[in-house]
């Protein structure tokens, strides 16, 4: 009896143990292009939803003079979005930082509809402001260089070997509510905390106010310098900031201005 059971098990194993030898037909392993008409049942399900979407999304907000795409180290699209956000909050923020991953499509040349902006910025992310000190600001710059560039506005940065140099536009130097002076930051760092060298009359303890998305402020994309910072919500979604700007400007454009540069010492 015992022996018979053993035989049954062994047979079962032989049947289920496949050799790994199989043929992968290499001629078949290529892309084929198929042109298809739309399936009518699927189309009929989509139609009522499409009517609802079109009524809202086909509104033309502005005209773009150029096609804007994202990219590294800087890009037309990244500069466009961060510049317009900073412009809307230039009284309460010094610089603006976003992420390439958050820009989900391109803006084509010509008419820009509300739907185009939704495709660019589908997320419900809101704008927030956090304060960084000079050392933390260099952590941010280093992060941007490590990522080969992320969208930012309000700064000009370059790296040479392991050193980073940054300069800002005029930043209001405040004490409480009163403005003490308005000067740009010019500073350099070659790594290591003691080595931050600040050329301008700004103290190391001076706080730079960074406008960014709540996604990044809450730990998205591992921007660790934002960890545990107080966040000031400005009460506007990034998408709405772009929509507001487009509606007010009629014509939009962008340019690359060399705000981030990497020099190699030969």
């Amino acid at each position: 009896m015992k022996l018979r059971l053993h035989i049954i098990y062994i047979t079962a194993i032989l049947l289920s143990a496949c050799s790994t030898q199989f043929i992968i037909d290499s001629k078949q392993n290529s892309i084929i292009s198929v042109s298809a008409i739309p399936d009518s049942l699927i189309t009929s399900i989509i139609n009522p939803y499409k009517t609802g979407i079109d009524s809202v999304m086909n509104e033309v907000l502005c005209v773009s003079e150029i096609e804007m795409t994202k990219g590294r180290p800087e890009s037309l699209l990244g500069n466009f979005v961060t510049d317009l956000c900073l412009e809307q909050y230039s009284d309460i923020a010094d610089i603006c930082v976003m992420n390439n991953g958050g820009l989900r499509s391109t803006l084509s040349k010509g008419k820009i509809t509300r739907g185009n902006i939704y495709e660019l910025m589908p997320f419900e992310n809101e704008l927030v402001i956090l304060e960084l000190n000079t050392l933390e600001l260099f952590d941010l710059i280093e992060y941007i260089f490590l990522r080969e560039g992320e969208p930012f506005s309000g700064l000009s940065v370059y790296s040479i070997d392991s050193c980073m140099v940054l300069s800002s536009r005029n930043i209001l130097y405040r004490q409480g509510d009163s403005v003490l002076m308005s000067v740009p930051i010019i500073a350099s760092s070659c790594g290591g905390e003691e080595e931050v060298y600040i050329v301008s009359k700004i103290e190391e303890t001076y706080k730079i106010r960074v406008l960014t998305s709540d996604y990044l402020a809450n730990g998205g994309d591992k921007m660790s310098f934002f960890n545990n910072k107080n966040q000031l919500k400005v009460g506007l979604k990034i998408r709405d900031a772009i929509i507001n700007y487009c509606k007010s400007e009629q014509t939009i454009s962008s340019k690359l201005d060399g705000r981030i540069t990497k020099y190699q010492n030969e």
Binding site: L14, A17, K50, Y118
Partner: protein
């Protein structure tokens, strides 16, 4: 039960010595069964073909449905699968929250999907609210949802039977911390993808006797860092035949082959995003349910213009 599994293990060792049996005895090429796997990933709420840019006229769910119907009409067994990130990318998601995406996938006969990071974009409640529109299961093996609204709404694995072929499917999700805001994923616990893959692929293969093991993964194809990817998963596990991947929006015209822990081949497939391509993998199995041949194609979906 334990002693039986022990015995099977020992018996399996015995088969190595018995491999003198000619392989011809196991391959009757004239009677191969065909199983067609169709797969998509990172649809990102793309309903219509692209209207502008370099992808103009490409993709479209209604176009994809026509192609899938044509493939079904070939008469073979079909499994239609998705690797997550169904949500987020067009106003259809912003306004209708994924309802249309799930309805259309159900109508097209999707058999299963895993959960991508963007499927959390309206929170767990936003996902759960849309589940009544999905007539297919969500399979994810390394998220513990037991302390969340998703608790009774997902599967750790599922066995499909297609014409006598048993296909075991499990799912692997990406680490959520740093990728998805905590308030959206709530008390979802992320668990080690490699441990869970080994556990579920062993269960599906050796305890449930599946002929093919497929992992629906939203880990991403590969990274230059130590971050776990499909390539890493393939090489550090056993028993997986095919990983259908997503997240990195990688366009593979054919699956990439990686050796697993036992030196066996694992196929990794991924077809970009937005429904631009449909992945097609045809398995040909003999009567003993052994894979004898695999054909793979990426189908580039285009709008027919007159």
């Amino acid at each position: 039960m334990n002693s039986r599994r022990e015995f099977i293990k020992r018996a399996a060792l015995g088969t190595a010595a018995m491999s003198i049996i000619p392989s011809k005895a196991f391959s009757n090429t004239s009677e191969l069964k065909q199983l067609t796997i169709l797969h998509t990933n990172d649809m990102h709420s793309h309903i219509h073909p692209f209207e502008s840019g370099r992808n103009k006229g490409v993709g479209g769910i209604a176009q994809r449905a026509t192609i899938i119907k044509q493939i079904r009409d070939e008469g073979n067994q079909v499994l239609l699968l998705d690797a997550g990130d169904i949500f987020q990318g067009t106003p259809y998601f912003n306004i209708y929250g994924g309802e249309l995406e799930f309805k259309l996938m159900s109508e097209m006969g999707y058999d299963a999907s895993t959960i991508g990071n963007h499927d959390f974009d309206n929170g767990l409640d936003g996902l759960v609210r849309q589940l009544p529109h999905a007539k297919f299961p969500f399979i994810v093996s390394n998220y513990d949802f037991s302390d969340t609204l998703m608790d009774d709404n997902y599967l750790k694995y599922k066995v499909f039977n297609r014409g006598g072929i048993k296909i075991g499917i499990f799912g692997i999700g990406i680490e959520l911390e740093g990728l998805v805001p905590k308030k959206l994923y709530g008390n979802t616990l992320y668990q080690n993808p490699i441990d869970k893959s080994n556990y579920y692929s062993d269960l599906l293969k050796n305890s449930l006797g599946c002929d093919l093991i497929i992992c629906l993964s939203h880990l991403g194809f590969k990274y230059n860092t130590k971050k776990v990817s499909d390539k890493m998963l393939a090489s550090q596990t056993k028993n997986i035949d095919l990983i259908i991947g997503g997240h990195t929006h990688t366009f593979l015209n054919k699956p990439v082959i990686v050796e697993n822990l036992e030196g066996k081949n694992v196929q990794i497939a991924q077809v970009g995003y937005a429904g631009i391509n449909i992945g097609r993998i045809d398995y040909f199995l003999n009567q003993k349910m052994c894979v004898k041949k695999i054909n793979s194609t990426a189908i580039f979906v285009k709008k027919k213009t007159k």
